[in-house]
């Protein structure tokens, strides 16, 4: 039944309304497809790594030394130990410094100073990691021998802005009534910060640290120039080049030998399982911390 001239059909049967509805439906479908597409890419990547990596993975692969050039078999124990040492030292540097910076900007600095430091932290966060790589290379390794410490310094520069931002975010969530309460009771500034502010922010700091570790353990560029020529056995001394997972995956992925590709997949599986599990857990914990503290 066509609507009479000059009235509006509230059931929306006229052409214009139908077109608007169609357009709306189309937009909704496109948005849904886009989201599905992104999830599908993640699934395909993870599935590829899992399928090809699992074929190679075994207890022996995790516990043996690296294969010598062209030899079959071998394992990645030196890579796991080396990556743990590199990231461990980086975290020992980045976490205290990052937390201290966050305390400074949040509890002490004037608004102007805070904005300035924030800009530096943001710029550091946006530095391409290859630039950090050549900086550390030029400063510490060029003309000297490769060493694990230089790699850790590079990773620490990657982690620092992440830890700082995560800490700032939770410090901001600590209600100022808590600080004022402590100060009103006669507690000094440093006691308030160490005794009241930091403990309630601790959960957020830990999850921020875990996220930064998850990011650093997969970073290849800062290690590529400073700890990429190493022995095939487990190394403990960071003053020498340390074998590590990301650089070895990179080297194996560039190799023409299919056996090296298999090793790259299996190493990638170990790496990605660690990264995905830690970052997923940290994200969940972070969401909980935010909810709890926002209450």
């Amino acid at each position: 039944m066509p609507s009479p001239e000059g009235t509006i059909d509230l059931r929306g049967r006229d052409g214009r309304t139908r077109r608007r509805r169609l357009m709306n439906r189309l937009a909704e479908i496109i948005a849904l497809l886009a989201a599905l597409f992104a999830v599908a890419i993640l699934a395909i990547v993870v599935w590829s790594v899992a399928k090809r990596g699992a074929a190679q993975l075994s207890v022996g692969f995790l516990t043996k030394d690296l294969p010598l050039f062209g030899q079959p078999g071998g394992g990645i124990a030196p890579l796991i130990v080396g990556s743990a040492i590199l990231v461990g030292i980086a975290a020992l540097i980045a976490v205290p410094v990052g937390v201290l910076i966050a305390i400074f900007t949040n509890e002490f600095a004037s608004p102007k100073l805070r904005a300035g430091i924030q800009l530096v932290i943001d710029l550091m966060n946006g530095l391409p990691s290859i630039v950090i790589a050549i900086f550390v290379f030029g400063l510490l390794v060029y003309g000297h021998a490769q060493n694990g410490l230089a790699g850790s310094y590079g990773l620490a520069i990657v982690m620092l802005p992440l830890v700082t931002r995560a800490t700032q975010e939770v410090l901001r969530l600590v209600p100022s009534s808590q600080r004022e309460g402590a100060l009103a009771l006669g507690a000094s500034r440093w006691r308030t910060v160490l005794g009241v502010v930091l403990p309630s922010a601790l959960g957020g700091i830990v999850t921020g640290t875990v996220l930064a570790v998850a990011r650093a353990v997969g970073e290849t560029a800062p290690l590529l120039f400073v700890t990429s020529i190493y022995a095939n056995t487990v190394q403990w001394d960071p003053r020498h080049a340390l074998p590590n997972m990301p650089v070895q995956i990179f080297i194996w992925s560039e190799s023409p030998d299919p056996a090296d590709h298999e090793r790259a997949w299996a190493t990638a599986l170990v790496l990605i399982v660690f990264v995905l599990i830690t970052s997923l857990l940290a994200r969940l914990a972070l969401a909980r911390t935010r909810r709890n503290m926002a209450r």
């Binding site: 608007r20 849904l32 992104a38 201290l100 990301p246």
Partner: protein, 320 residues
């Protein structure tokens, strides 16, 4: 009488400790902040300082030099600048519409539970290490693209120079795809936050006036978050320009300028990473640092711009 001095002493001791504690904490935290600034300055000084040798020899003409000749020690950056521009533009062209659509799905369409899970998955995509994405790119995506995607593009759009070459399993095209995958989660998660922060009353007002959801999104959500979207795109661009490892794995290397997306090439970052065991002469190392200096400037400028855009947007909405 003896109790009073004890209390006095106690009070005095506490005051001293608090005085000291406050200063020590302030000093330590201030020192840490100073350290961050020092590191940042040191990075700029070192990267520029080490490129001095190449800068003195080639000057600013390095930017449009086309050769990378290690035997005669003649270097130029143009092919790398070209590769960087093409790969990151391609990544943006693919990633930005996709990311905005994802962000709209997460903020406007999805039920809360679904949105939370899908949002976490999209962010997980950003957590995949670039070396793993590169491995996947060269061994899975590359062959797939060479056998299906590129021939199809070549057959349908081959008259455009961009799609004219012979399909290969490594090259600029694959690098652009991999970069797009890396840029999507960055832009999507920023845009989602933006869209969620659009005042509820504005959205409901538009709906109450009879707008469809899409018209509301177009007229209210997208238009009011335009500066934020610009900042997100700039940050995504910065990420694409600076990515070294995954691009090195898939781009196939080559210091040439070719219009076909299917040809191999190099970006500034991939050239640096690709020479990790190859740089011999002092001049070559310095030329690599020169490339790094260009990247550093681009990185600083893009981030600075993004900050500026965000800050201006905040100021404006605050003033409204």
């Amino acid at each position: 009488m003896s109790a009073v001095p004890a209390v006095e002493r106690l009070r005095h001791g506490r005051r001293l400790r608090d005085w000291l504690g406050d200063r020590v904490l302030l000093g330590l935290t201030g020192l840490a902040a100073l350290a961050a600034i020092v590191v940042m300055v040191a990075i700029v000084l070192k990267v520029f300082g080490a490129s001095r040798l190449a800068f003195d020899k080639f000057g600013i003409a390095f930017l449009w030099g086309r050769t990378w000749d290690a035997t005669h020690d003649v270097y130029g950056a143009l092919p790398g600048l070209f590769g960087t521009a093409v790969t990151s533009l391609m990544a943006l062209v693919i990633a930005v519409p996709l990311a905005i659509a994802i962000a709209l799905f997460l903020s406007e369409l999805a039920p809360r539970g679904v949105g939370g899970i899908v949002g976490a998955l999209v962010e997980t995509l950003a957590a995949v290490p670039s070396v793993v994405l590169g491995l996947w790119g060269i061994l899975v995506l590359g062959p797939f693209a060479a056998n299906h995607l590129e021939p199809w593009l070549h057959d349908t759009l081959g008259f455009i120079p961009l799609f004219s070459g012979t399909p290969q399993s490594s090259g600029i095209f694959i690098a652009g795809l991999i970069l797009a995958i890396m840029v999507v989660p960055i832009v999507a998660s920023i845009c989602r936050e933006l869209f969620l922060s659009v005042p509820r009353e504005l959205e409901e007002g538009a709906l109450a006036l009879g707008a469809t959801r899409w018209e509301m999104v177009k007229g209210v959500v997208l238009s009011s978050s335009r500066p934020g979207i610009a900042a997100a795109v700039i940050l995504g661009l910065g990420r694409a320009i600076g990515e070294a490892i995954a691009v090195t794995q898939v781009i196939g290397a080559g210091w040439t300028i070719q219009w076909s997306l299917f040809s191999t090439g190099d970006t500034l970052a991939s050239r640096i990473a690709g020479q990790y065991q190859g740089a011999v002469s002092k001049m070559q190392v310095s030329a690599l640092f020169y490339l790094g200096a260009i990247l550093l400037v681009i990185g600083l400028v893009t981030n600075f711009l993004a900050q500026l855009v965000v800050r201006r947007a905040v100021v404006r909405t605050g003033a409204d």
